[in-house]
Structures are given as structure tokens and as C-alpha cells.
């Protein structure tokens, strides 16, 4: 019934509007004019609207910066994040003036050069010098930006050298939660494959693999020591997820069937960060940032960054894989395809492999 009423009201409304339009059209015709021709008055009004719009447009931009600027993520909590934030500032400093200047020119020209029947436009089809100028200047600026960006990118994406003291951790995504696995003393993960997922063995770890014994699996939250490089390895059980850690300026997709990686050095403990942002309830989070189904919007895990001592203490309390998985049926045959280099301690070539 409501639908019907909406439709009827709509049709009646349209009929009324059409009649009004018709009246205007006829009235214009009576005055010997056309309703589509731009009058002098209209032209001037529209020209004047341009700078007015510009003022509101710029005002709106500035108002937003003042009102919502503080919502931006706080200072980077990772070392490499300082560099990306710097790169971002530099980029902003380049594009903001361009934004304002080109818009000022656009709206000013519109206002200034409004139609006047006593004047003629300048016949100015081209100027090679000018065109070279605005090809070359952007080229130079962009070359600098590209080089700066690539240096930063390469630095960030280089995996941690094996002989550096670091934490090795696997983040495992599935609909709709995260599991973290620490490599343990041996700094090697035990083999894992979804076909071995059974009961408590949620990651499908091969219990016959010696590297698996000291792996530690945690859910709900995971901890990291401050000021120590963390090498993340990402895997997914079902579909593509993305591990987004905005406070650390870190993100990487978790892709079923392959391993991806990212590394960073946490700079501030959770407690320090709470102080910095002035919020005693602040927590670092991993958010899922690749559409993954109905509860995508609530797929998260807390990260606790703490001192090395606290971290060691917390890690010691976590059960090893072997302890939490007493009844470990040894699988006789090894699924051949995927396992070959899964146990390799470094992952340098993992992502190239699938290209």
C-alpha cells in the first residue's frame, strides 16, 4: 500500500512539474524568447557563481582540515612509518599548492572572461614553448617524487636479514578472525596445510615436522617487543584477507595458497602510545582490509607492544604446539606439492614464485 501511494504521489508530482515547465516555456515564447537561450543576465550570474563557489569550496576544505584533521592516525608507531609519513608530507606540500592555484585560475578565468557581445575571444590555438613548459616541469617534479618514493618502498619491502635479531610471526586469517603463530626458539615454522586442519589443530600444522614442536599459537591478541624488528608472514585459510595495521603503517594481503610478508619495528609500547594519544583505552589493532564476507567489518585482533621483559614473560606462558596438541596423529605420507620450501627460514622468493 505504501509503495502504491509513493508511486501515485510521484506521478502526480511529475504531472504538476511538467505543467509548470510548460507554462514557463509558453511565457518565454510570448516574450519572443527561447527557454534554452542563455541571457546576458544568466551568463553574468553563472560567472559570478564561480568565485562564490570557489570560496565555499576552499572554505569547506579548510573547515574539514580543522574539524577532522585530528582524526587522522596518530604519529607512526613503527620506525619505517616515520619515512612514509615524511614522504606523505612532502607529497602534500607539492600537490596542495597545485590544487589551489589551478582551481583559482579555473574559477577566476570563468569569472573574468564571461561573454560580452562586443568583445572577441583571443584566437590562440597553441604555443609550443608554453606546452613544453608544462610538460617538463611536471616531469621534473614527478621524477623527484618517483625516486624518493621508490627508495622508501625498497627500504620497507626488504625482508629482515636472517642474522639480525628479530621476531618471526605468522598471521593467519580466516572468516572471520585472526590467529598468530610464533616460530619459537628455532626461528622456523612447522609445515602447515589446510588438509591437516582437524580439531584443535586449527592451522593444519604437520605434527611430524620437528620445526613445529616449539611453535606457539595464540588467539584473541598477540604481543610484540618494542624496538625489535618483526618479520610477519601472512597466510589465509579460505579467501583473501588483508592484515591492516594502520598505526604501524603496515598492510599486506593474506592469500590462500601462498605466503606473503611484511616487516617493521614497533617504536612505542601500547602504554606509551596510550599516553601519546591521551586515551587510556587505546589499543593497536589488525583490521581485515579485503572484502571477505558478512562479518568482514568485525574481523580484528589486538596487538600488545611491550618491553622485551614483559614480552618474554608473556611468551613463556603460551603453550607450545606440541604441548597443546598431545594426541598428534603422525601423518605417513607428505602432500608433495606445496611443502617443498615451506620450511625455509627466509621467504625472499615466495611471492615471486607465484607470478
Amino acid at each position: 500500500m505504501t509503495k502504491f501511494l509513493i508511486i501515485v504521489t510521484g506521478i502526480l508530482g511529475l504531472a504538476v512539474v511538467f505543467q509548470i515547465l510548460r507554462t514557463f516555456q509558453l511565457a518565454a515564447k510570448l516574450r519572443g524568447k527561447n527557454d534554452w537561450e542563455v541571457t546576458d543576465h544568466e551568463n553574468k550570474t553563472q560567472a559570478l557563481m564561480m568565485p562564490i563557489f570557489m570560496v565555499f569550496f576552499f572554505g569547506f576544505v579548510i573547515w574539514q582540515i580543522m574539524r577532522w584533521g585530528h582524526l587522522s592516525l596518530p604519529e607512526s608507531a613503527s620506525i619505517h612509518g616515520e619515512e612514509t609519513d615524511m614522504l606523505l608530507s612532502v607529497t602534500w606540500w607539492i600537490i596542495t599548492p597545485v590544487f589551489f592555484i589551478t582551481h583559482i585560475l579555473l574559477f577566476y578565468f570563468c569569472y573574468k572572461f564571461v561573454y560580452n557581445k562586443d568583445r572577441r575571444a583571443d584566437f590562440y590555438p597553441h604555443n609550443n614553448k608554453l606546452e613544453m613548459l608544462w610538460t617538463i616541469v611536471p616531469t621534473i617534479v614527478l621524477t623527484c617524487l618517483i625516486i624518493y618514493g621508490l627508495v622508501t618502498w625498497n627500504k620497507i619491502m626488504t625482508p629482515i636479514a636472517e642474522d639480525t635479531d628479530h621476531v618471526l610471526i605468522e598471521l593467519y586469517g580466516k572468516q572471520f578472525d585472526w590467529t598468530a603463530r610464533y616460530a619459537g626458539e628455532d626461528m622456523r615454522f612447522g609445515d602447515a596445510n589446510t588438509r591437516r586442519i582437524e580439531g584443535a589443530n586449527v592451522l593444519g600444522i604437520d605434527s611430524a615436522d620437528v620445526n613445529a614442536a616449539d611453535d606457539k599459537i595464540v588467539k584473541g591478541e598477540f604481543h610484540l617487543p618494542v624496538n625489535k624488528p618483526v618479520q610477519f608472514v601472512f597466510r589465509s585459510q579460505d579467501i583473501i584477507h588483508s592484515a591492516y595495521m594502520p598505526h604501524f603503517r603496515a598492510q599486506m594481503n593474506c592469500v590462500p595458497g601462498m605466503k606473503t610478508q611484511f616487516n617493521f619495528v614497533p617504536k612505542y609500547t601500547t602504554a606509551e602510545m596510550r599516553e601519546k594519544v591521551g586515551n587510556p583505552e587505546f589499543d593497536y589493532l589488525v583490521l581485515c582490509n579485503k572484502i571477505c564476507g558478512a562479518a568482514h567489518y568485525n574481523m580484528q585482533i589486538k596487538i600488545v607492544v611491550e618491553s622485551q621483559e614483559d614480552y618474554d614473560k608473556w611468551l613463556a606462558e603460551q603453550a607450545t604446539f606440541i604441548a597443546s596438541n598431545e594426541v598428534a596423529p603422525v601423518q605417513p605420507e607428505k602432500p608433495a606439492v606445496i611443502e617443498a620450501e615451506a620450511a625455509a627460514p627466509t621467504l625472499e622468493n615466495d611471492s615471486t614464485k607465484t607470478e
Binding site: 527557454d35 563557489f53 592516525l73 594481503n253 607470478e355
Partner: protein, 591 residues
């Protein structure tokens, strides 16, 4: 008996004139109306999910009225939220801005502006439309199937799109999406090949390539992009069909879902991403280039001044088109592909800024010392320049892999591409409709309603998409149904509300356009032959549509299309059909 035969003949005429027409002008109208219908549906969907995003969890009975069990008790279901987002994206990118925009204006303007009686193949052209219509109907039909329509995002990354266990929309809905898009690709190829062949072969005497209006250049390059890239999407879709239906493992590997291990081995979703974006990125320019072409023409006509740097405009469109084929990886910086590739794609991506900058400066110089007539189409073309600047600049941030790490897939991206691609393209399309309405419907549109439409649209469009950049910097991922689970996003609640209010007003503003469009098409003032005092050939045809476009000979072309306000001429325009005077330079063809 004879009266009966005549009657029968007449009926057939009607059918072939309006339905199975092979006349490019009628096909253009069919594309326009179908494209706009799809566009309005897509826009309606966005206002529905904006209600949820602006006021999460609040009950809106109107949602239940329109969508029934998609919104039990007036609250949108999370699965259906994703369905709406997916279909909104699909419709807007493909159905409105690809088929609606290119289909309408390539069809209308290519024969008219190059001086041809019709397309090279009227029959293929008709097929192109019918494939498009079928594809649209299937896409809309998929809204009603069990499990809902495709819900894996318009990029339909597998495994999400491959496994119905992962999301209900990946059942029948996804199958129909793939069928619909396959037909769409056929439509696009038939159209594109036709455009290319027509432009190469059917130009009238004197219409050198360097005398073609920039619109035709834009359609030409767009058609080439489409013909080279859409087949790749087809192959991506085909392999996905195999994975879904025949248990192959092109994209799938090592998956455990809904309590069982699926036994796929050795595939990679990254392969799909590569294939998808090999179309997906050129697609951005398939959407954008026609809009740039239309606005170049409109700005020149309404500024009563030649477009500045005609050759540079063509060159920059070629450069943009070429580069668009080697930048697809910037959608995949965080996909896990080799970081070295990330570096390569950063390099190529940022290069796009150079021809884009050239275009912007050329637009500005065209306006400089012009004699500007502010018709509604001129306003929309100026709006396009503004959105092209605003959205293009943030692309410099997103294209930089190191910066993309933290804003990839956030609202910053949503704001960016809606402004640079969505708004620019739709502004170009609106501008085109206002400008060429007399050629489409032989009548004029009302310009007062046009003004209202423009100002409401641009104010609301910026009101919707600028604030999204701030959400991006707050770290808000896109495609979330609800952000209230995260205390860190509490402050953004008001941004969401403001965006939703603007979105609703923008949607209502489009009703003004709809009214103007329908009214003017039926009862609008009769168009004169050349209402905008324009140089191009389409304005030498009779107002009433006739088959073959020109009653007599096709006129010969003697000059480039931008001789506006040429010194020494009596009028401020010189149509292309006017022969060069002795000693007069043909501006497009000398340096």
C-alpha cells in the same frame, strides 16, 4: 486488402525504426536511456547503503518498503550491504559510464562528426545494443535470485567470488554476474570494432585525422583500449567459471572453508587480479577519455575560442591510453606480488600525471581570454576540469607504493576514484547530453533546470567525496558494514552522517535532470539547426533525423574544427565546411 497490407507495412516500420533499429542515432538513444536507467538504479542503491553507513543500525522503514527481506525491520542485512556495494560498482562503472557514455556518444557523434551516413556495420551496431540490453536485464534479474546477487565487490576477487560457502552471493548471483558481464563484453567489442572501422574508413572528403574533433579522437582511442583489454576480462571470467563449475584450480589453492578442505591445488588468486586489472585499469580511461573528449569540444565551443594545443591534447590522450596498459599493478601493491613489480608500477603510474597535467593546463589556457557562454554543458565541463584536478592529485599519493601501504583499500581510495573517475566521467556525460540533446531528440533542454542540476550536483558531489579522504587518513577500511565496533573510528561518525545527507540531496538533485530530460525530449522547444554556433559537421544535418544523415551529398571538410573567433572573419565561428581563403592557414595542420 491493400489497406491491410499497408497497415502491416507500417507496423514493421515502427518495429524497425524504434526497436530493431540499425540507425546510429536511434541506437545512441537506446544506449542513453538504458544507461541512465541503470545509472539511476545504481544511484538508488548507493543512497540505500549510505543510510546504513550514516546511521549504522538505525531502522529506516523505507528500506524495507523498497527491498523487503534485504532489510528486515528497516535495517540493511550485512550480506545485502555487500551485494548493494558490488552491484552499485558494477552498474556505475560498466553499465552507466562505459556502455551508457561510450555507447551513446560514440554512436551519435562518430558518423555525424566525421561525415558518414552511418556506422560501418549497422547490423553489428544493433547487435551491440541488444547484447547490452540483455546483459542489463540479466544483471537486474540477478538481484532477485536465491542468495542474492554477486557480493564479492565489483572486482570479484576469487576465492570469495568462487565459493558460495564464503558468501551467499557467490552462488547463482555470481553465475549471473559472469553471464551478464560476458554478454556485456561482446557488446563492447562489437561496438568498439565498429567505431574503429568507421573512423578509419568512412571519413568524408577532407576529413583528415588531424581535422577530427577531439571527441572523435577520444572515442577512437577509447575503442582501441576497449578492444585490447575487454577480452582479457573475458578470459579471467572464463577461468573463474571453470573454477566454480568444473573444479579446476586456476585461482584456487589450499582452501579450507565451512568445515572441509576443498582439495584445490596450485592456483593463485593473484593471477585473477592481474587479469582483472589488465582490463580494470584501462577501463578507468575507457570511462574517462570520452568525457575528456566531450568536454574539450564543449569548452572550445562555449569559450568561442579554439581548444589550446589541439595536437598536445591528442598526444596526451594517446600517452594516457598507452600508459594505462602498463599501470594495472598499482591496484595490487599490497597483494603479495613481488615488491620489485610494485616499484615498476609506481614508476609507470606516476607518469600518467604528466599528460594529465598537460590536459589541465590546456583547458585552463583555452578558458583564458575566451568569451565564455555559461550554458549548462559548459558548467558541467568546467566541473569536470575541477574534479579531474582534485581527484587526479590524490592519485599521486595512491600511485606511490610506499604511501599506498597505509591507505590501500581505505576510504581515501573511495574518495579518490569517485572524484577522478566517477564524477569526471558523469560530468562529461551530463555535459554531452545538454550539448547534443538537440541532435538526440531534436529539441532543447531547459537551461534553468540545467543550472539548478549542476550546482546541486557539484556541491553535493564534493560534499560526499571530499570528507572520505579524512576517513581514509583515520585508517577506515572500505566496504565495512558498520564501524561502531572500533572505538578508534568513533570520531568519524559525524563524517559518515554528513556524507549521507549530501548523498541523499545529490540523488534528489538528479530528479531535476530526469524531469528536464523527459519533459524536453517530448515537449521541449524545437531545436534550431545550429543552436550553439558550432563548427562541427553534426550541425549541418537537418534537425529532424533522417536515415543517412544528410539529404544530399555529404559535405566536404576544409579546415580543422576549432576556428572560433578567428581574426578577419565576420562571425566568431567558421564551420568546417567553409573553404579556406587564399593564404589562410589550416590551424590543426601546421606548427
Amino acid at each position: 486488402m491493400s489497406a491491410h497490407a499497408e497497415h502491416h507495412h507500417h507496423e514493421e516500420d515502427f518495429l524497425f525504426k524504434y526497436v530493431f533499429s540499425q540507425d546510429h542515432k536511434m541506437i545512441a538513444k537506446q544506449f542513453l536511456v538504458t544507461g541512465f536507467t541503470m545509472g539511476f538504479i545504481g544511484m538508488l542503491m548507493s543512497t540505500f547503503f549510505r543510510l546504513q553507513l550514516g546511521w549504522p543500525g538505525k531502522s529506516f522503514p523505507i528500506l524495507e518498503t523498497f527491498m523487503g527481506d534485504w532489510a528486515p525491520n528497516g535495517v540493511l542485512d550485512p550480506d545485502k550491504y555487500l551485494a548493494l556495494v558490488t552491484i552499485h560498482g558494477t552498474i556505475m562503472v560498466f553499465f552507466l559510464l562505459t556502455a551508457g557514455l561510450s555507447g551513446t556518444f560514440s554512436n551519435l557523434l562518430i558518423p555525424l562528426q566525421i561525415g558518414a551516413r552511418d556506422m560501418a556495420s549497422g547490423f553489428l551496431n544493433m547487435l551491440s545494443y541488444w547484447f547490452f540490453l540483455t546483459s542489463s536485464i540479466i544483471m537486474l534479474y540477478s538481484l532477485g535470485v536465491e542468495g542474492g546477487p554477486a557480493s564479492a565487490g565489483w572486482t570479484i576477487y576469487p576465492p570469495l567470488s568462487a565459493l558460495p560457502q564464503a558468501i551467499p552471493g557467490s552462488g547463482t548471483g555470481m553465475t549471473l554476474w559472469l553471464v551478464s558481464m560476458s554478454l556485456f563484453i561482446v557488446s563492447s567489442l562489437l561496438g568498439g570494432l565498429n567505431y574503429i572501422v568507421t573512423i578509419i574508413n568512412l571519413r568524408t572528403k577532407g576529413m583528415k585525422m588531424t581535422r577530427m574533433p577531439l571527441t572523435i579522437w577520444a572515442f577512437f582511442l577509447t575503442a582501441i583500449l576497449g578492444v585490447l583489454s575487454f577480452p582479457v576480462l573475458f578470459s579471467a571470467a572464463l577461468l573463474l567459471v571453470f573454477d566454480r563449475s568444473f573444479h579446476t584450480s586456476f585461482y584456487l589453492s589450499d582452501i579450507y572453508i565451512a568445515g572441509e578442505s576443498l582439495g584445490y591445488e596450485g592456483g593463485s588468486p593473484i593471477l585473477f587480479e592481474h587479469l582483472f586489472w589488465f582490463l580494470g585499469h584501462p577501463e578507468v580511461y575507457i570511462v574517462l577519455l570520452p568525457a575528456l573528449g566531450l568536454s574539450s569540444e564543449i569548452i572550445s565551443v562555449n569559450a568561442r575560442k579554439p581548444i589550446f594545443g589541439y595536437r598536445a591534447m591528442i598526444g596526451s590522450m594517446m600517452a594516457i591510453g598507452f600508459i594505462s596498459f602498463i599501470v594495472w599493478g598499482h591496484h595490487m601493491f599490497m597483494s603479495g606480488m613481488n615488491p620489485f613489480l610494485g616499484a615498476v608500477f609506481t614508476f609507470t603510474t606516476l607518469l600518467v600525471a604528466i599528460p594529465s597535467a598537460v590536459k589541465v593546463f590546456n583547458y585552463l589556457t583555452t578558458l583564458f581570454k575566451g568569451n565564455l557562454v555559461f550554458t549548462p554543458q559548459m558548467l558541467f565541463a568546467i566541473g569536470l576540469v575541477s574534479t579531474f584536478i582534485s581527484g587526479g592529485l590524490t592519485g599521486i599519493i595512491l600511485g606511490d607504493a610506499a604511501l599506498d601501504i597505509n591507505i590501500h583499500d581505505t576510504y581515501f581510495v573511495v574518495g579518490h576514484f569517485h572524484i577522478v573517475m566517477g564524477l569526471s566521467a558523469i560530468f562529461g556525460m551530463f555535459a554531452g547530453v545538454y550539448h547534443w540533446f538537440p541532435k538526440l531528440f531534436t529539441r532543447m533542454m531547459n537551461n534553468k533546470l540545467g543550472y539548478a542540476h549542476f550546482w546541486i550536483t557539484i556541491v553535493c558531489a564534493y560534499g560526499v567525496f571530499l570528507p572520505m579522504h579524512f576517513m581514509g587518513f583515520a585508517g577506515m577500511p572500505r566496504r565495512y558494514y558498520d564501524y561502531s565496533n572500533f572505538p578508534m573510528f568513533d570520531g568519524t561518525l559525524e563524517i559518515g552522517e554528513i556524507i549521507s545527507v549530501f548523498a541523499i540531496i545529490a540523488a534528489l538533485g538528479q530528479v531535476i535532470f530526469l524531469i528536464n530530460f523527459v519533459y524536453s525530449a517530448i515537449w521541449g522547444t524545437r531545436a534550431p539547426k545550429n543552436p550553439w554556433n558550432s563548427n562541427t559537421l553534426e550541425w549541418t544535418t537537418p534537425v529532424e533525423h533522417i536515415h543517412g544523415n544528410w539529404p544530399g551529398e555529404i559535405p566536404e571538410v576544409h579546415r580543422w574544427p576549432y576556428d572560433y573567433s578567428k581574426p578577419g572573419k565576420e562571425l566568431d565561428y567558421v564551420p568546417q565546411t567553409v573553404p579556406l581563403e587564399e593564404g589562410e592557414l589550416d590551424e590543426g595542420n601546421h606548427h
